[in-house]
Amino acid sequence: MKKAAYSFPEEVLEHVFSFIVSDKDRSSISLVCKSWYEIERWCRRKVFVGNCYAVSPPILIKRFPELRSVTLKGKPHFADFNLVPEGWGGFACPWIRAMAGAYPWLEEIRLKRMVVSDESLEIIAKSFRNFKVLVLSSCEGFTTEGLAAIAANCRNLRELDLRESEVEDLSGRWLSDFPDSYTSLESLNISCLGNEVNLLALERLVSRCPNLKTLRLNRAVPLDRLPNLLRGAPQLAELGTGAYTSEMRPDVFSNLAEAFAGCKQLKTLSGFWDVLPSYLPAVNPICSQLISLNLSYATVQSPDLIKLVSLCEKLQKLWVLDYIEDDGLEVLAASCKDLRELRVFPSDPFGLEPNVALTEQGLVSVSEGCPKLQSVLYFCRQMSNAALNTIARNRPNLTRFRLCIIEPRSPDYLTLQPLDDGFGAIVEHCKDLRRLSLSGLLTDRVFEYIGTYGKKLEMLSVAFAGDSDLGLHHVLSGCDNLRKLEIRDCPFGDKALLANAAKLETMRSLWMSSCSVSFGACKVLGQKMPRLNVEVMDESGPPDSRPESSPVEKLYVYRTVAGPRLDMPGFVWTMDDDSALRIS
């Protein structure tokens, strides 16, 4: 490589670069000049691929030959809600195979919404000598046999996190496959598993790993085994309980309370399935040190929740069911002044009538009382423009605001008007808003607000909203930092999409389902924009068996340097140049 007239030799530059960790900054470095590009790519150790189809394994490996950590995301976000049919894609295998060959020193693999097979897990287990971290978030396709391979072979494993994945749980035996000599576990999350793991093996594992900081159990771990586990790991910082119920015996409670009290570092609690309310106070000894509490499976009533929450003065993050009600949120607002994130989930999402006294007022209280509140996810059954306005003015520091009013197209319940102005106030006042989810009755006007004020917005989720293409046009033309846009059941169609085709190359992806985008427009878009993959999903048959003007079921558009993907199932069609010939 030619040496330009630099003051610094390569090694020095490399050393300097090693302090730059953010992906964005790394990318900027690589654009300075050719030699910096070269140096940077050889010393890059960590890569994040937000859409596994935006690039391909060979491309990644060619550019970054020395990676130690790879993060990949597969399916679009709406897959979480069953909108992406099975078999759509996001297969991890080709990536894992390629990386097994290219990166013998790979240490970390993090996958989200991908399909992972047991075979892939076996490849991981056998290929990477220094493998340390495996995080499978909302993944599927593997069984406990694959986990057994990991347990048996990864001598240096530090982290095994299966959060929210769908695992075919054949038996709990796999945990015993960690050899007795294995002591390096720092984080274990098996909360998604259905069957009981071998409890003795678990206890032994936990007690022989001195660096274990995170332990998230599954529901099948009975409460009376918890104290033993805790005593084996007093250094624990994050705990997810199993089922939080047992026969009412006085010794169980005191045992539990004592065990909790012994965990001086415990800061995060989750789990709490099947909660027996009288057992909740067992965590009281550590409430004052808790910063994160996930009670979103705890089906207990407001008074019990209030008693718990009011003791957690350092709480920064609370996930809870709407059983907490407005009263509980008021107590939260008064007690937890350090709260940064609140998520309130619906206990009865499909019920038509409210089953709890949770309204917009709860959120207003929290917005008033918690000055550091940044992130909100709130399910409720009524909302008003006035409340949204108040929330916006109280909390201009909001960065994530996701509101789900359960009944689609619900208007302001006081005025019966659309909620345009309320959400408008949110985007106008919360200047650093990066993520927004809309719900309720909304016209094109709300999108005008969003396009005008949502300059920092990166992700927008829209459902059952808008009147015309104008709405979509406002967003695509106004939101300068938009990366992900997902839309369902909105009357948005061809005009706005085609008029803003160039915008789509600046975004990671666009999802539109049950909208009014015609097949013809998809073809035009695919042909016009070679650096976009325009994928049409239609389970009722090939889209060209219907008129060009008929709307497509689902449309997923994403930028890519890898060209159209080759692993599409029968119900996905790509609208690329040569596919126009292929379809006919």
Partner: protein
Amino acid sequence: MLSIPLAGISIPFLSKKQNQRANITLLLLFSSVFNVAAMDESSRNDMKLELRLAPPGAEEQQHWGFINGIRTTTTKRDESSVLSLGYFPHATITTTTTTSSSSQAAALPLHNNNADKKVANTAVPNTSQKRTAPGPVVGWPPIRSFRKNLANSSSSSKSPPPPPEHHNKVVVGGGGGGGGKGMFVKINMDGVPIGRKVDLNAYDSYENLSNAVDQLFKGLLAAQRDSSGGGVNKLQEEEKVITGLLDGSGEYTLVYEDNEGDRMLVGDVPWHMFVSTVKRLRVLKSSELSAFTLGGKQDKDAT
């Protein structure tokens, strides 16, 4: 409607039929826009050579040109050469009426195409209507499957709930559910090649499940009839409601395979028992049912 001589545009790599289709598409695409903006005659003449959609007077606006009937190639400079739509045609500003006083955002004039959309302008008290139980909308409300049915599977009352179920069989725990049901099962229907998955958590009764199956498949079934019948523009094909799934009275019957591989009629056992043993669902033609002896082990088919 504006007449735009698009018939003469030929896109080289498409067949004649596809060209015709493309032209029709483009016509449909642009015509409604042109309805909005009253273009003058000279502009219309321009259209013969060049499709250009821009606010009147915005000369520097990028355009996507079909020049002389040949698609312009996409060069780097053409990156921004896409359709740009002028939404600020004239002074026809129809803002939706709101009662709010804080509407400072009226900087952009709006043209509300849908004057017939009354919803935004009038107070439609849809919340006061009596609502019958609808079938669940797919993916709404947007919560993960392992968060559904919490109120049912775990008692929120004061009495201690029963100890957690202990399955000895294969359990697919989804997300945070571990044993607590995030239950997707495959469902196939006779005559529909692509199977679906249903989340049994979303339903608490056979009736709801039956409704959901009807919703899932009636569209697909109509489409299958379309394509088998030659597939030309049969959009009016009626989507027949699928009824009688549970009592044998309909054209189709719902059956399931349980954890022992036996094929059973759906509806015989209590709902929660069904949910804990079902592995797979099938919607069979009722006429074919006699061919299957229910209850014994069946030949497993390839799907």
